[in-house]
């Protein structure tokens, strides 16, 4: 409180004027919710002389929806909490226009917790409310766009599934035709062309299988499993033999210690391991062998494939198992970038997980599948 004769540069506040002409509308309501005091700002916004507002209720100054919400929601909240904040309502002015406002209120209570009166502060919020309404409209539009995009993308995946399926028939015809030609006497050039054809057909069949697996995974049916309880070693040995035959210059060392039969889909696990081994042979250092290991511990099966060579860049690690991911695309690489994605889906279908670590020493992919009641059933 400034003393009389104190520093004239100290401005004192006129509290009466602050109340009447504040940049807020103020009203005070009695326990029966009638208004007993209102400031000039509020009366001015409403277009009524202040005295005509005395004895009325705040709810009577609202639009009908506002009245209903005030009585059913806002008034109970005020009574229960002693306050409410940032409630958006529409006032109706003397000209019948809507005045969008935000309202805060606090209750004054006596020693028994009964309401004595309530103080209400009102701030105009026309722009803010229309901005919110606009935002709401945009959110709805964005949701609609997303929904339609998802629909389109699902259609696209269905199309891929159907296309993949339908490509198998003409491919089977080509395989049959090649087989027929082989039974006849062929020139040396003819035999060479037939071999090329058969290799291309194999590769195309592989691509179609990948696309079909991918589409099935995306369409929600997931990778279908045909589980059987069988020994793991023959499954792994066959995959290793196939790859060593196709790349005789490379060595794959095996440490397989899973003597007991386990419940897996042998075809799918073979597909997964074949994929990991092929990747390791392609990307690993050709001077070092690729290593394959399998072990059971703590009710889990672990199968790992490791190779030496340049590590996978951290950025690529993040997206390794995403579909159509191909890292740095090199001319030598062909395929769709679905291999690791499908391998990871196969792991998931078994209730397990496929993970990767990569550093200067080695790059290692590990398949972990739970065994026992859950995983083995």
């Amino acid at each position: 409180m400034p003393e009389p004769g104190a520093d004239p540069s100290v401005i004192s506040e006129d509290l009466e004027d602050l109340y009447e002409n504040a940049p807020f509308g103020y009203l005070s309501t009695a326990a029966d919710s009638t208004i007993f005091k209102v400031n000039a700002t509020f009366a001015g916004w409403m277009g009524f002389p202040p005295e005509t507002l005395i004895g009325r209720r705040l709810r009577d100054l609202l639009t009908v929806p506002g009245r209903i919400l005030y009585e059913t929601n806002v008034a109970p909240a005020l009574r229960l909490q002693g306050r409410f904040e940032e409630v958006a309502l529409d006032l109706v002015t003397d000209t019948g226009d809507k005045l969008p406002v935000l309202v805060n209120a606090t209750e004054r209570r006596n020693a028994d917790g009964e309401m004595v009166s309530a103080r209400v502060a009102v701030v105009r919020a026309k722009d803010r409310r229309s901005y919110e309404r606009d935002l709401q409209g945009r959110e709805a539009a964005a949701r609609e766009t997303l929904r339609s995009e998802q629909e389109t993308s699902q259609l696209r995946e269905q199309f891929i599934a159907v296309l993949g399926h339908d490509l198998r028939n003409p491919l089977a015809s080509i395989v049959g035709a090649a087989r027929l030609l082989r039974r006849e006497v062929q020139s040396e050039k003819g035999l060479k062309v037939l071999s090329l054809m058969e290799t291309s057909v194999d590769r195309m069949a592989g691509l179609i299988d990948d696309v079909m697996d991918f589409a099935r995974g995306r369409l929600g049916s997931g990778i279908d499993l045909h589980r059987a309880v069988c020994p793991l070693e023959p499954v792994l040995r066959q995959v290793v033999d196939e790859l060593e035959t196709s790349q005789p210059s490379r060595t794959i060392t095996c440490e397989i210690a899973v003597p007991e039969p386990i419940s897996i889909d042998p075809g799918r696990i073979g597909q997964l391991v074949s994929n990991l081994l092929a990747n390791a042979l392609t990307h690993g250092d050709p001077r070092s062998p690729v290593r394959l290991g399998a072990v059971t511990r703590d009710q889990r099966l672990e199968v790992w494939v490791a190779n030496a060579g340049a590590p996978i860049p951290p950025k690529a690690m993040e997206r390794l198992f995403q579909p159509f991911f191909r890292g740095e695309v090199r001319a030598s690489q062909n395929g769709l970038g679905l291999g690791l994605h499908i391998a990871s889906e196969i792991a998931k279908a078994h209730g397990g997980v496929l993970s990767a670590i990569s550093d200067e020493t080695e790059t290692r992919f590990t398949l972990t599948i739970p065994l026992g009641q859950d995983g083995g059933a």
Partner: protein
């Protein structure tokens, strides 16, 4: 192990049912549109010495299981009435005194028609069988006004959610609020609130009133714009043998604005 389809969530969990007090008879408190069971916090404790008190949140409100919300089931008040019956059956209660506020007064009426053995008395606080005026019937609102309410809820989800879930800020100089500040009141999922508003304000249960056979007390507030005096008289005239008590309390929520008067009126009847 695993999920069995068709397993029902317990109604006690779904509706966040709270049972307190002791007594041979039970008194059930049902909250109306816009709040949750906290609405009865100044009334229900007064009955705990003589009654087993049962409070619950309707699905979508308070601590109810939001995932149990089924738009088809709850499109009309019937779905809410079925929940009341399920709660009472799960608690193995019969012949209860049902105290329903606002829309839940009609929910109680419907439940008593479906399973009369579960109810011994109905106390309807601010009941309305229809909010929209119709020929000679005064409900309090024009059809266009209710339409305007539903549109307002569509256009103003933010306004709505602010009203639904006001920020609660610590208030050390008001120790009596201490307990209340730990929970937020009248929380309601905005999307569900919109549908609940539709089910409430579009309802017409006038034809059900003459079928009520359970002894009924109507507590009518003075100056209630949601359920005006005419509506209280209408409900009284249509339920044979019902009692009508006009409260001095004003507004739509006498359980909050005048809990002592409401408590006394219920005690005198129950």
């Amino acid at each position: 192990m695993g999920c069995h389809s068709g397993v029902r969530v317990s109604a006690i969990k779904r509706n966040n049912v709270r049972v307190r007090g002791s007594g041979a008879k039970a008194m059930v408190f049902a909250h109306g549109f816009g709040c949750d069971q906290n609405m009865w916090r100044h009334v229900a404790p007064a009955f705990e010495t003589d009654f087993k008190t049962v409070l619950f949140d309707s699905v979508g409100a308070g601590g109810s299981d939001l995932s149990a919300y089924d738009p088809t089931k709850y499109a009309t008040l019937d779905g809410y009435a079925d929940d009341v019956i399920e709660i009472l059956r799960e608690l193995d209660l019969k012949g209860v005194v049902f105290v329903g506020h606002s829309v839940s007064a009609m929910v109680g009426v419907l439940a008593s028609l479906k399973a009369p053995e579960l109810f011994s008395k109905l106390v309807l606080v601010g009941p309305s069988p229809r909010y929209i005026n119709d020929d000679n019937y005064v409900g309090g609102f024009g059809a266009a006004q209710i339409e305007e309410l539903l549109e307002f809820l569509d256009d103003n989800p933010m306004a709505w959610s602010q009203a639904m879930a006001p920020a609660i800020i610590g208030n050390p100089d008001r120790p009596e609020l201490g307990e209340e500040l730990t929970a937020s009141f009248c929380r309601m999922d905005p999307a569900i609130a919109k549908e609940f508003a539709r089910a409430t304000f579009m309802s017409d249960n006038r034809a059900d009133l003459p079928r009520v056979a359970t002894p009924t007390l109507i507590l009518q507030c003075s100056d209630d714009i949601i359920a005006p005096l005419e509506v209280g008289h209408y409900v009284h005239s249509r339920i044979a043998g019902s009692d009508l008590r006009i409260l001095a309390a004003t507004g739509h929520c006498p359980n909050l604005s005048a809990p002592a008067e409401v408590t006394a009126a219920i005690r005198a009847y129950a």
